[in-house]
């Protein structure tokens, strides 16, 4: 009988059969990155904690922390966006934008391990720095769809929302600060029953209550934006800038809330009927680079390679939700 030598929770070995299929996916994505002029970068898996928390306080809650020999706190990066923001401000401090970077790298998060959700996850993604507003968002979405097409996924859709839309709505109806936090929490935890309870508790006019409850539940074609009025002008501009094969993949989702705190505008997630969880996502983060001393608008996304693989296998076996 052999002894048991386990790997840490949420990590696993990848053996040659699986590795060959993963490689095929990664190579397809890399060809798209290359054709679109995105240069691949590699950064250390370990970063100083203070660098990551400068980007996003939530990045201070990573899966793994350790000390170096001088007593500095090091963390395994929870995504690649903040490390690349650091690279742009230090290594490209004087280079004029736009800058286009891509990566295929591991990130580490303290998630509950399950299929398609390891604590050590392989991500493939891009960062587009210095192309503002709809032009930048449209390019990021176009490269995203080209990558998904190249992998061979047929049934994917891209959910598109705006991180600034609901806060703007809360401004419109002058919702006070303590309630705002609770309302955003309900939205982020996908609890519409809790959202209704919090919004009803504000005792606003009927029209305001209706807007605050119905807008984040709007999903569908471009007509879904009507409910949000001028607050959705940003998304209308993005939609107008998309080439038609990309536009056809878009589902507007006015309640889309991503867990990372640095998004400022458009946010998106990728769905495929062959898997019950998003394949990846991204968005605009126009303030992140400023926190590292180079105030440039930026957008990017990351796909979870393991989930792409599961969805691809599922699609080919004819599975759908």
């Amino acid at each position: 009988m052999s002894t048991i030598h386990p790997t840490p929770s949420g990590t696993r070995d990848v053996l040659p059969d699986e590795m060959r299929e993963v490689h095929a996916i990664v190579e397809s994505v890399r060809e798209v990155f290359d054709a679109r002029g995105y240069g691949e970068v590699r950064t250390p898996a370990l970063e100083y904690e203070q660098v990551l928390t400068r980007g996003d306080p939530a990045a201070a809650d990573p899966a793994y922390k350790l000390f170096d020999e001088q007593g500095n706190v090091l963390v395994l990066r929870s995504d690649m966006t903040i490390p690349i923001a650091r690279v742009v401000s230090t290594r490209y401090a004087t280079v004029s934008p736009p800058l286009r970077f891509c990566y295929v790298a591991h990130a580490y998060r303290s998630v509950r391990p399950q299929r398609g959700q390891d604590r050590e996850m392989l991500q493939a993604g891009i960062e587009l720095v210095g192309v503002p507003e709809q032009a930048g968002t449209a390019e990021a979405l176009t490269v995203l769809c080209e990558a998904l097409d190249a992998i061979g996924l047929a049934g994917y859709r891209v959910g598109l929302g705006d991180a600034s839309l609901y806060p703007a709505l809360l401004d419109t109806y002058a919702v006070p600060v303590p309630a705002r936090g609770r309302i955003m929490h309900e939205l982020q935890t996908r609890d519409f029953v809790g959202l209704e309870r919090e919004v009803d508790g504000l005792r606003l006019a009927a029209e305001a209550t209706e807007a605050l409850l119905s807008v984040p539940q709007r999903r569908g074609g471009v007509e879904a934006l009507d409910a949000a009025g001028p607050a959705a002008d940003g998304l209308r501009a993005v939609f107008a800038a998309l080439p038609s094969p990309v536009a056809e993949r878009v589902i507007f989702d006015l309640g889309l809330a991503r867990s990372l705190g640095y998004y400022t505008g458009a946010v998106f997630e990728v769905y495929d009927a062959a898997l019950g969880a998003p394949l990846g996502g991204g968005g605009r983060y126009d303030e992140l680079l400023g926190r590292f001393g180079r105030d440039l608008p930026a957008a990017g996304w990351a796909l979870n390679v393991e989930r792409l693989h599961i969805a691809l296998v599922g699609e080919r076996r004819g599975e759908r939700l």
């Binding site: 999903r219 569908g220 589902i251 969880a277 939700l321």
Partner: protein, 215 residues
């Protein structure tokens, strides 16, 4: 649209089954086969799978069912599950309580004299969170059933459990000391189905609201 619009619904067996099927009847879903057959689990037409209430969130999170009905108690215990909570169905009301044997509060005594109280429960996370939040040290003893037995046998000084009418607690000589959370049945949805099947899902939610007498 009638029926479930092609969505797969996870229905909880047990206390919430009757109310769930009654609601489905009012939506024009044929539940005769589900009612007639308590061993079969999968009903292709109209698209119903039946399971323990505590498994509903698991199936819906994984996308094995698009939507499901389960108690708020289950969702609070499994709060890390990535599912949408869409609608309070209002049936299956019950309360999560802290209970002990009648007379002197054994929990308070244990906390005062021994520093830690032992609490038996089927809901270890809700219980742990409640005592952390209220600043009391508690050892949570997880049991799978008949929680009322624990304080009667000395396994624990108190319990955290769900009660609808209080009958089981009373019959075992237990009294409610604190209320933690009120629970009712909720409609939940898988996050990907929530986007890809938005029209069918919104239509179903609207019809459920109407059937429940809410606009």
């Amino acid at each position: 649209m009638s029926g479930l619009g092609g969505l797969t619904l996870a229905v909880p067996r047990g206390a919430m089954l009757g109310d769930t099927l009654d609601l489905l009847d009012r939506l024009g879903v044929d539940t005769t086969e589900v009612r007639a057959n308590d061993r079969k689990l999968l009903f292709e037409e109209p698209g119903i799978v039946t399971m323990r209430p505590s498994d509903v969130a698991t199936y819906v999170e994984a996308g094995a069912a698009d939507i499901g009905v389960t108690g708020k108690d289950v969702l609070a215990e499994q709060s890390e599950r990535a599912v949408y909570e869409l609608l309070d169905l209002r049936f299956g009301p019950c309360v999560m309580v802290v209970a002990t044997t009648a007379g002197e509060d054994r929990l308070a005594e244990a906390l005062r004299r021994l520093g830690v109280m032992r609490v038996a429960t089927k809901y270890p996370r809700i219980a742990a969170r409640h005592f952390e939040r209220t600043g009391r040290q508690a050892e949570i003893v997880e049991v799978k059933g008949s929680v009322e037995l624990a304080p009667l046998t000395g396994l624990a000084e108190g319990i955290v459990d769900l009660t609808a009418t209080g009958t089981t607690l009373r019959e075992n000589g237990l009294v409610v000391r604190e209320e933690i959370l009120a629970s009712t049945a909720r409609l939940i949805a898988n996050p990907v189905a929530h986007k890809l099947r938005a029209a069918a899902l919104d239509d179903l939610v609207a019809r459920m609201r109407e059937a429940l007498g809410r606009a």
